[in-house]
Amino acid sequence: MTGVLTIAGYGLREAVRRKVFVVVCLLSLGFVALYWVGNRYVFRHVGDINPPSGVDARTFAGAFLFGMAMFGTLFLGVVLAVFLTLGVVRGDAERGLLQPLVVRPIGRATVLGARFLGAAAVCVPYVLALYFATMAVTGAEGSWWPDRIVTPALELSGGVLVVSALSLLGSVFLSAIANGIAIFMVFGAGLVAGLLGNIGHVLNSHGLVHAAKIAAWALPFEALYEDALRAITANTSGLTGFLLRLGPFGGAEQGGVGLRLWSVGYLVVVGAVALAGFSRRDL
């Protein structure tokens, strides 16, 4: 355990010294500020809108804006996770940083586990902080609050953890640049699959919906994100709820407990494959 904490602390200190946190905090403050300006304008004029019968304009605006903020939160969390993990194995080995650590008695599993925990220790609080900050902005400006508050926050964090694990796995086999590109492409593919699923629902295309569902479960960060979006309007029914679920910032698919269990299992499997690959890798 000492080895895990030492390596995780080492990763965190590196992020502090390299001013990663300062940059991330400043950019995130900028994001929240812009989000606040957007909310202010939208809710100032939302009363002037005459929506179609059965649509609650304030609920629609609040859920849509907050869904957009959740996408931004997921994206920023993923960027942070990827940059903290993309070169953990092969990248650091190629730069000669890994070997002095790995020859110590702590072993490779500790190094890998600690780097994952280090990334989680940064990314999860970050995602939670951004989620609750944007939720507070929408709540304060528009008097709209999500139907579920904690579950979506945890699912977004879980999505970022899944991407961190995939990035760590990629770092075992790919150089840092190749891994970064690969993970962002996988992330993009997952999001596109989700959007295609939304379109499939609109068009009532079972094939498209089925393909999107397979993609979302193969890349559970997307399924978790969709479930989180669904959860913020879980009690919103009627035409408002229907329109929100058509997207792009509405969850078309509900995952539930099965998805969460699958995500935990997925993390375990990805971690095991990464460890198996790392333990067999010549450095």
């Binding site: 080895g3 030492t6 070997q99 002095p100 790995v102 020859v103 072993g107 010549d282 450095l283």
Partner: protein, 280 residues
């Protein structure tokens, strides 16, 4: 007491390339062994297998009686890689603290001060790695390898970035380590360095041990040289036992003798002969 490092029948294949082909080698406790060979001879691969960074294709490698790469083996060794880098944002002090924790060392402040003193970096203990010269980083690397008082030290080209004074510091350090009973496997291209400090020399070529022995064993006789008033006479076929007779003959011939030297080959000559003129 088991050997600090014992390898036998060690092979390593990278794709179609045989990096090691049945290497056998032992480093006894307190022994300082020099590893020589041209580029691609398999020296770094051998060292990496010993510290568990590379898995052998076949054969056996043990560190202080434990299989190479095992927790016990890693706890018994210190390693300085040929191409290493420490994070630029850490100071020398922080780096040593990190390695003390990872090695489970209880030496604390006293050990860090002693190691920095040993490599001449006491004044730079709070300096960041990115602000150090390459030579200072290499000396810090040696200090890092010594954290936790390892029984076996694996040094892969530890003086490649050092100036002559730095090299002498390392030589003194190696002699001090021998005095303390630490075993060292020194992989270096600097023949003079190996010749001066090593108890035994092993020369690798094409993944095989081609020559091994003490510097004295490897030095073959090359004749006798006698300085006289009429110049230097060289007797290539003569040996140490022939010196009194040769001097006697020259004196009877009316020559004045100023000195007699038994000639032996240098490590450089042994090396060139062993590797067949392969470039390093």
């Amino acid at each position: 007491m088991p050997a600090a490092l014992a390898v036998s029948g060690l092979t390593k294949r990278y794709g179609v390339v045989d990096a090691l082909r049945g290497v056998a080698l032992e480093v006894e406790p307190g022994e300082l062994v020099g590893l020589l060979g041209p580029n691609g001879a398999g020296k770094s691969t051998l060292v990496k297998i010993a510290c568990g960074l590379v898995r052998p294709s076949s054969g056996r490698a043990e560190v202080c009686g434990s299989p190479a790469g095992s927790r016990e083996a890693r706890a018994a060794l210190g390693y300085l890689a040929e191409f290493f880098r420490f994070p630029g944002w850490t100071s020398a002090e922080e780096l040593l603290v990190l390695h003390q924790r990872l090695a489970g060392s209880t030496g604390g402040e006293r050990e860090r001060s002693e190691l920095l003193e040993l490599v001449g970096l006491v004044d730079a203990r709070n300096r960041r790695v990115e602000e150090m010269s390459k030579g200072m980083q290499q000396r810090l690397g040696i200090a890092q390898a010594l954290v936790g008082t390892p029984r076996l030290l694996l040094l892969d080209e530890p003086t490649s970035a050092l100036d002559p004074v730095g090299r002498r510091t390392v030589r003194t350090l190696l002699e001090e380590l021998r005095r303390r009973g630490v075993s060292v496997l020194l992989n270096s291209h600097l023949l003079s360095e190996i010749e001066h400090v090593c108890d035994r020399v092993v020369i690798l070529l094409g993944g095989e041990v081609v020559t091994a022995g003490t510097p004295a064993e490897l030095a073959s006789p090359r004749g006798v040289e006698i300085e006289t008033d009429r110049g230097t006479e060289v007797y290539p076929a003569a040996n140490r036992d022939d010196v009194p007779r040769l001097v006697d003959e020259l004196v009877r011939d009316g020559r004045r003798i100023y000195g007699a030297h038994v000639l032996t080959s240098t490590l450089e000559e042994v090396y060139v002969e062993a590797v067949g003129g392969e470039t390093q």
